[in-house]
Structures are given as C-alpha cells and as structure tokens.
Amino acid sequence: MDVKHVAKLANLTLKPNEEEKFKKQFAETLKTIDVINELDTSDIAPTSQVTGLTNVTRLDKIDASRIIKIGDYFKVPAIFNAQ
C-alpha cells in the first residue's frame, strides 16, 4: 500500500515515524483479508443493503423541528482557488 498516497486521500497527516509503523501493520491485515479470494463468487451479486427495503422516501415538506439557528458563518483560514 502506498501509505503516503492513501493518507493524503483520507485527509490525514502522518507523523514521520507513522508511515513505517502503519506499513507493517497494513501488510499483516491485508494478508489476513486475502482469504476471501478462496471463494468463487463469479455468479454472485454484491450485497450493500441487508434490509431488503426499497423506495424509502419522504414527502416534500418543511420540518422546522430540526432546524438549528446558528446565525453566523463558520470560518476557516482563507482557501485560495475558488471551487
């Protein structure tokens, strides 16, 4: 695993010694999870929902009960390059 690249994608800053430490730990984990490749899943569909539910929606109306009135901007140090 390219730990540096993954940390960047994950918006995490690693301390100098962490990269090496994590690299070793990841190697162990990745080896353990490799075992699923023993199973044949060529005709199997992935499951991302165990509820079996579909079409759960809400009506288009205002719910004032959850509104939080913060009333001011959140501030962060200036970001250059507008989206």
């Binding site: 991302s48 929902q49 929606t57 959850r66 009333g71």
Partner: protein, 406 residues
C-alpha cells in the same frame, strides 16, 4: 464563431439545476435559501453532524425523472444513491450523496444532441472569501440538484447557445426550477478541448470552464477558449489541463486552478439509503403528467394557429406571452406581443361557438335580416354575443357568424 478548418472543437456541457422544491434533498430544511441569513436553515443532516442520516425527497426524485423524460431519456427502473468522497470545507460530510453507475435517467437527446445522463445529487455549502478568512454558509448544503450531462457533440457556440436556452425553457415549462443563471439555480460547466480536423482520436486534455453565469458570457468564453487552445496547439504545445473562468473585463478565460490528476472519488453505494425500484406504470404516469414542451408548443403555433416559425419561437419562449396569445389568438395579438406594443382588449374572452349558436337560435329575425343582406342585423348579433361573453375579438366573431349562417 470560428472558421478554422484545421481544428474541430470537442464541446460538451454539465448543467446543474437547483430544484424549486419546498425542502432540501435529504432533510426537511427549506430549500429556498436566497437572501437568507447565514446558517439559519440547517439541521443535523445538512450540517453533517455526528449520527445524522439522510432520507430522500420524493418530489425531487419525481422532478428529476420528469426532466429526464422530457429529454427523451430511458429511465433506470432500478436505481440508487452513491457516496462521492472528497474533502472540501463546503462539503460537511466529507462526501456528497450523488449517483454513480445507475443514474435515474440516461441516453436522451435534445435538438439532435445526445444527453448522456440526468441524475440527482445534493448541493454544497457556499464559500465567501474575506481577507485572510473564508466564510462558510451551509444554508445551500443539501439543496436538491439535478445534473444533466451532454455528449461532447456541439459543433460551435451558436449550436450550444440554442441548446442551453431550449434546456432552460424545458425546465421552466416543467415548473421544477427557476433555472435562473444569475441566481445560480442553473449553473453551466463547459468541457472544451480541440482536436485536429482529420484526427479520429479524442484530445488527451480537457479544460473546464466554470462559474460563468450568463448565456452570453458562456458563449464568449467558449469562443475565446477554442481560439486560445488552437493557438497553443498550432505552436506545437499542449494546453494545460485546468479549470478556467470568464473575465468579462478582460474578455478572456482565466485560469482558476490547475486541475490535478482526476480526483479518486471512491464511489460506493450509499448504505444509509435503500435503493429505488420504479415500475413501468409509475414512469408512464409521470410521462403522462408532462406538460406541453416548448417544441410541441412551437409546432402547435405553426400548424394550428398558422404562425411563422420565427414568431412561433418568440411566442413560445415566454410563458406570459404564450398565455396572452392564447387568450386572444389573432394576428393583432401576435404583432403587439412581438413588437412589444400594448395589447388591445387585454382581457379578451374566448368566443364560444355554443354561445354563438344559442344567440343565433334565439334571434331568428336578425338572422333572416342578415341573410337578406342587412349589415345592421350582423352588428346586432355581434352585440348580443359581446353582451354574453364580454370583450371579444369582433372580426373573429363576425367570421364565426358568417360560417354558421351560411
């Protein structure tokens, strides 16, 4: 317009439309955020607080699909939401709930241009720069957005200008959004590159032009950008892949940031929202609920009311003009509307043939007199119709009476 025979533009668009629903996409906060005090229309969901969960807005989904149907799309009967993961301060959850591989609508077309997909997603918050600080307002976070993606099959900016305006009209006709460029409820992104005329390969770069809030400006931006890219290519170099904006002052596109290697969005199905399963019957019902679209209206103005194609375009392009015309469909009305003269008899009543029939039947002597050639009798009959219906188009009524009496 450019007349360079050695290069062809590769031009496509991504259009984002803020829906005019009452509430946001995944929560019950008000969706209309125009002119509202910062962070006063937020809740745990659209603020991305710990433990908050999204529940999709049924109306927004219906409107997205109706737009897809109006654009001739196929509707995916099975669909879902996906998470698009990236970090930015205006994105409170650190991911945007969007659609990835199974959008609601796909493979449509408009005015001969292919529409790749129409899908549903949520808007981000708004950033405002103030000196050494950036201010964030999440009132807009979670507002429903429909994204329309076209193929890169536009020949030039005239082509795209007509297309985008037609798209705006369709959206307004459907009543799903104000589609207002200045207010930001319709946002355009142009993807522009250029390739040698005889090359079968697509260019290896793409420039995004964003944050341009009028049709006039995007047209100029496209023209400028194509020329700029041609010049670079002719010099033997390759245009840098980046995002650019339009400067009306400089009359140029300007670099906004270098587009790094494509984001790795790590899309995966949204576990907090069960998938959507539509029936053909549901889609058919929604299709039957579509109003007359601009193209149909133009066609009707031409074939039924005998307007010229140019006048048909003008009259159909404006809801108010169109309804005014329908109140009193006549040549005088068209002239007045097109030349922006005050309309006569603004509240002209429709001439109901049944009413005319009734009046003729009730006044056999006047009818007989009129048949015998007495003009007075005609005026009398018209007067009776006017009494019954109010302000009417006199010449039209005369024509109807003539027909009936014959």
């Amino acid at each position: 317009m450019f007349a360079n025979r050695n290069f062809r533009p590769v031009l496509g668009f991504e259009v984002h439309i803020e829906l005019g629903t009452k509430s946001k996409m995944f929560c019950g906060c008000p969706a209309d955020h125009f002119g509202v005090s910062p962070n006063t229309q937020v809740c745990p969901v659209c603020l991305g607080l710990p433990g908050a969960l999204p529940v999709p807005n049924a109306k927004a989904i219906e409107w997205c699909i109706k737009l897809g149907l109006a654009l001739g799309c196929d509707i995916n009967l099975f669909s879902k939401f996906d998470r698009k993961n990236y970090f930015y301060p205006d994105l409170p959850k650190g991911y945007q709930i969007s659609q990835y591989d199974i959008p609601f609508c796909k493979n449509g077309q408009l005015l001969g241009h292919k529409i790749t997909r129409v899908h549903m997603e949520e808007d981000t918050g708004k950033l405002q720069h103030q000196g050494d600080v950036t201010l964030i307002d999440f009132n807009r976070s979670g507002v429903p957005l429909v994204e329309v993606v076209t193929a890169a099959d536009f020949k030039n900016s005239d082509d795209s200008d007509v297309f985008l305006k037609e798209l705006q009209q369709i959206i307004r006709t459907l009543g799903i959004s104000g589609a207002d460029m200045e207010k930001g409820s319709m946002r355009l992104e142009a993807n522009i590159s250029v390739r040698p005329a005889n090359s079968p390969n697509l260019p290896n770069y793409k420039i995004e032009v964003k944050n341009v809030n009028s049709f006039r400006f995007i047209k100029r931006a496209v023209d400028f950008e194509v020329s700029r890219q041609i010049k670079i290519l002719e010099s033997g170099a390759n245009p840098a892949q980046e995002t650019r904006g339009w400067s009306e002052i400089k009359q140029e596109t300007v670099s906004q940031r270098i587009k790094e290697e494509a984001h790795d969005y790590r899309y995966f199905p949204e576990p907090d929202i069960p998938p959507l399963q539509f029936t053909k019957a549901q889609i058919d019902t929604w299709r039957s609920e579509l109003p007359e679209l601009p193209a149909q209206v133009r066609q009707e103005l031409i074939t039924k009311y005998h307007l010229s194609p140019q006048y048909a375009v003008i009259i159909s392009s404006d809801q108010v003009m169109y309804s005014e015309f329908l109140k009193n469909p006549s040549k005088t009305t068209v002239d007045a509307l097109v030349n922006k003269r005050p309309l006569q008899n603004q509240t002209t009543a429709k001439v109901d043939s049944e009413v005319v029939n009734k009046i003729l039947a009730a006044n056999p002597k006047a009818v007989a007199d009129f048949k015998a050639g007495k003009q007075q009798a005609l005026f009398f009959l018209i007067g009776q119709v006017k009494k019954e219906l109010g302000n009417i188009d006199v010449s039209l009524t005369q024509r109807i009476i003539n027909e009936y009496v014959r």
